[in-house]
């Protein structure tokens, strides 16, 4: 799905939301197409990676006083129709962050073999850390409340798996409540993730390394709320 189509779909399904597209240094027509579809665009002058682009987005949300944000992939994998359910769960359960998760009994996302096991192990560990049952810790589909927006506007890791795994650790250590809702994800445009055991092992190793370091980090305070 092109970015234009994704933006239009979000406008249809979640009309009360403002859409921000963060362009991470692409020199193609992404920014223009997004603008034409009615989104605001943060056009980063240099490539910062996922973590950098996310933090820029959260900074915008923080400074403009948004109370809730939804993070959505630009490839159409995340269905905007699920947003209302995520927001509902946030209200009902009093969570600060709600993840739209695969492998939670909704949808048929199929990953088999070593990759699936690595993700399962990761989910188990993070469930212990966050104190909530999580099944999908590498999902980029999540809604955040004001406290999480404040946190992520200052502290969003830019390294591998930082945007998913490490951000959950940071949130938990800041005292935020994480929860999840099962969603059906649509197939990725770029094909399925690789199934090689070697790559899965490397993935798990790096994830564990990132997790260990994240867990051992000293606590940092939430940035102050805006006064104006």
């Amino acid at each position: 799905m092109t970015i234009g189509a994704v933006v239009r779909e979000v406008h249809e399904e979640v009309p009360q939301a403002d859409v921000l597209v963060v362009n991470d240094g692409s020199i193609d027509a992404t920014a223009e197409v997004a603008r034409a579809a009615g989104a605001l665009v943060l056009d980063l002058p240099v490539n910062l990676g996922v973590g950098g682009a996310m933090r820029a987005g959260y900074k915008y949300a923080f400074r403009r006083g948004y109370q809730r944000t939804v993070q959505l992939d630009a490839d159409g994998q995340h269905d905007p129709a699920s947003v209302e359910r995520l927001l509902g769960a946030m209200r009902e359960r009093g969570a600060d962050i709600v993840i739209g998760a695969r492998f939670a009994g909704v949808g048929e996302y199929s990953v088999r073999g070593p990759r699936r096991w690595s993700m399962k192990i990761l989910a188990k560990v993070l469930s212990r850390v966050t104190g909530t049952r999580l099944t999908d810790t590498t999902s980029g589909f999540k809604v955040c409340g004001r406290a999480a927006i404040r946190l992520f506007s200052a502290d969003y890791p830019a390294e591998y798996l930082g945007d998913t795994v490490e951000s959950l650790v940071i949130a938990t250590r800041a005292g935020l409540k994480v929860d999840q809702v099962g969603v059906a994800m649509r197939p990725r445009a770029g094909g399925s993730p690789s199934h090689s055991p070697m790559k899965a092992a490397v993935f798990l190793l790096r994830a564990v390394f990132a997790l260990a370091i994240a867990l051992s980090r000293p606590k940092a305070p939430l940035p102050a709320e805006l006064t104006a």
Partner: protein, 139 residues
């Protein structure tokens, strides 16, 4: 303390130091990775000296200590190259950011001019033609 025990202790200290730096975000994972691998490798050799002898036999080096020095040299070289590459990338980024800021300043100036002379705040920039002198910041 024997040489080997010293080597292992130093490696443990290095790993601890790296962990402390990683913890406080003073160093990024990609830089720490090589050092951690090196520290573990040297630590292993210190703990099991026979490994060094066996390895140098396999590789065809006369004395294990030579192999150790050679390997350490290659690793340090790799780290220098990694850092040089990252610095080059940073210079390119800085350049781009400087361009964007200059362009934004011009845009802001132009849009305040369009808004009318009554709305302009006095400019604090010294008006200067495109100059290549290096006598410091102008504003």
């Amino acid at each position: 303390m024997t040489g080997y025990a010293l080597a292992v202790t130093l490696c443990l200290l290095v790993v601890a130091l790296l962990f402390a730096l990683l913890r406080r975000r003073r160093i990024r994972e990609k830089y720490a990775a090589l050092w951690v691998i090196l520290a573990i490798a040297v630590g292993l050799l210190g703990a099991f000296p026979r490994l060094a002898f066996w390895l140098s036999d396999v590789v065809g080096v006369q004395a294990p200590v030579n192999l150790l020095f050679a390997t350490a040299f290659v690793v340090l070289l790799a780290v220098c190259i990694q850092i040089s590459s990252e610095v080059s990338s940073l210079e390119e980024q800085t350049r781009t950011l400087a361009e964007e800021i200059a362009l934004l300043r011009l845009e802001v100036r132009q849009s305040t001019e369009l808004a009318g002379p009554a709305e302009q705040t006095p400019s604090t920039d010294a008006a200067s033609a495109d100059s290549t002198t290096t006598d410091g910041p102008s504003a």
